[in-house]
């Protein structure tokens, strides 16, 4: 894992007035005011991009493109609405397009499975196992991948994930449940209950 990773989990909430003020200044012709927006949101947008591709350079590039799209469409943001929701929707659209351009390299069935139960693993192995699961998310079919990414990015808030995707909450919940089933079947050692059940079918077969 790169040394740039930190243990900091949550960033402090951003006052909505700051964004509204910066947007007003940008729309009035002050380009430098956009810097405030980038400073405040670069962390979340880069982290969101990281979850979509799990590649440092790719995350930076995708986040940069998301900021540019936001810049171009700044006039379309309505000051009464939530700036972060608007920004995350733009970012999700950009990242989704990128994902479609570069399909997952490894199918879900080919993701290495840990050989022992979590309780028997060393810290190093445990870390590898966790990372394998996170990478397995990227191998899910498009329909299931994004709900998982955004649900956990938004700290397990279905409503915010649905808003970001512009999708009904019910659809997100259904896709999320299916995606988690696929992951649990693929990593039975993580879930003792699932491990007891036979792995009847592969991820692709489950989708039929």
């Amino acid at each position: 894992m790169p040394e740039l990773l930190t243990a900091v989990r949550k960033s402090p909430p951003v006052p909505a007035e700051l964004d509204a003020a910066d947007v007003a200044r940008v729309l009035a012709g002050d380009v430098s005011a956009f810097e405030g927006i980038v400073k405040r949101w670069q962390g979340p947008l880069v982290n969101m991009a990281w979850r979509y591709c799990r590649d440092r350079g790719c995350a930076d590039e995708m986040a940069q493109e998301a900021f540019l799209r936001a810049w171009r469409g700044l006039a379309s943001w309505r000051s009464g609405s939530n700036f972060s929701t608007w920004l995350f929707s733009i970012a999700a659209n950009v990242y989704r397009s990128e994902l479609k351009r570069f399909p997952a390299a490894v199918p879900l069935d080919d993701v290495p499975e840990p050989s022992a139960a979590a309780a028997q693993l060393s810290n190093f192995e445990l870390h590898g196992q966790n990372e394998a699961l996170r990478r397995a998310v990227l191998t899910l079919p498009h329909n299931y991948r994004e709900p998982v990414i955004l649900y956990y990015f938004h700290e397990m808030d279905v409503s915010r994930a649905a808003q970001t995707m512009g999708m009904p909450e019910g659809t997100v919940k259904a896709r999320l449940a299916r995606a988690r089933d696929l992951l649990r079947k693929r990593f039975p050692h993580l879930n003792p209950q699932a491990a007891a059940e036979p792995l009847l079918s592969t991820g692709k077969e489950l989708l039929r």
């Binding site: 740039l4 930190t6 982290n47 540019l68 966790n130 992951l183």
Partner: protein
């Protein structure tokens, strides 16, 4: 974080691992890089808008011609003259003389000239020349 779609009992290892993702810090030059591209876009000239004012009369004329053609075809079909309409026209000798290759070449040159003049006028109006 407590999940809002499932009970705490269902908060299993998959949730725990995916929820406990570490954060990455944007690269040091990220902000500068974004602002550089934003400034480039800000000073770039606006894209040339499509000349609707000039195009609309042409479009109306074209639509009118097509409409008139369709109307005429339907009228002839109803009258039973459709086959006659598609038959080779009987031109007089004087008309045939006009349609010599030289005439066609001259017509093509005039059209090219008109198109070139028209495009230059359009560019001048956009203040690019």
């Amino acid at each position: 974080m407590k999940p809002d779609t499932q009970s705490a009992a269902n908060y299993d290892a998959v949730d725990r691992i995916l929820d406990a993702e570490d954060q990455i810090v944007p690269s040091s030059g990220f902000l500068a890089s974004v602002m550089e591209r934003v400034r480039e876009e800000a000073i770039a000239p606006q894209p040339i808008p499509f000349p609707w004012k000039l195009a609309i009369p042409g479009m109306v004329l074209a639509a009118g011609t097509i409409g008139w053609l369709i109307y005429d075809l339907i009228r002839m079909a109803v009258a039973g003259d459709l086959q006659a309409a598609f038959e080779a026209p009987h031109l007089h000798a004087a008309q045939l003389n006009l349609l010599t290759p030289v005439t066609w070449i001259a017509l093509a040159l005039v059209l090219s000239l008109a198109s070139w003049v028209f495009s230059r006028r359009l560019i001048r109006r956009s203040s690019l020349l």
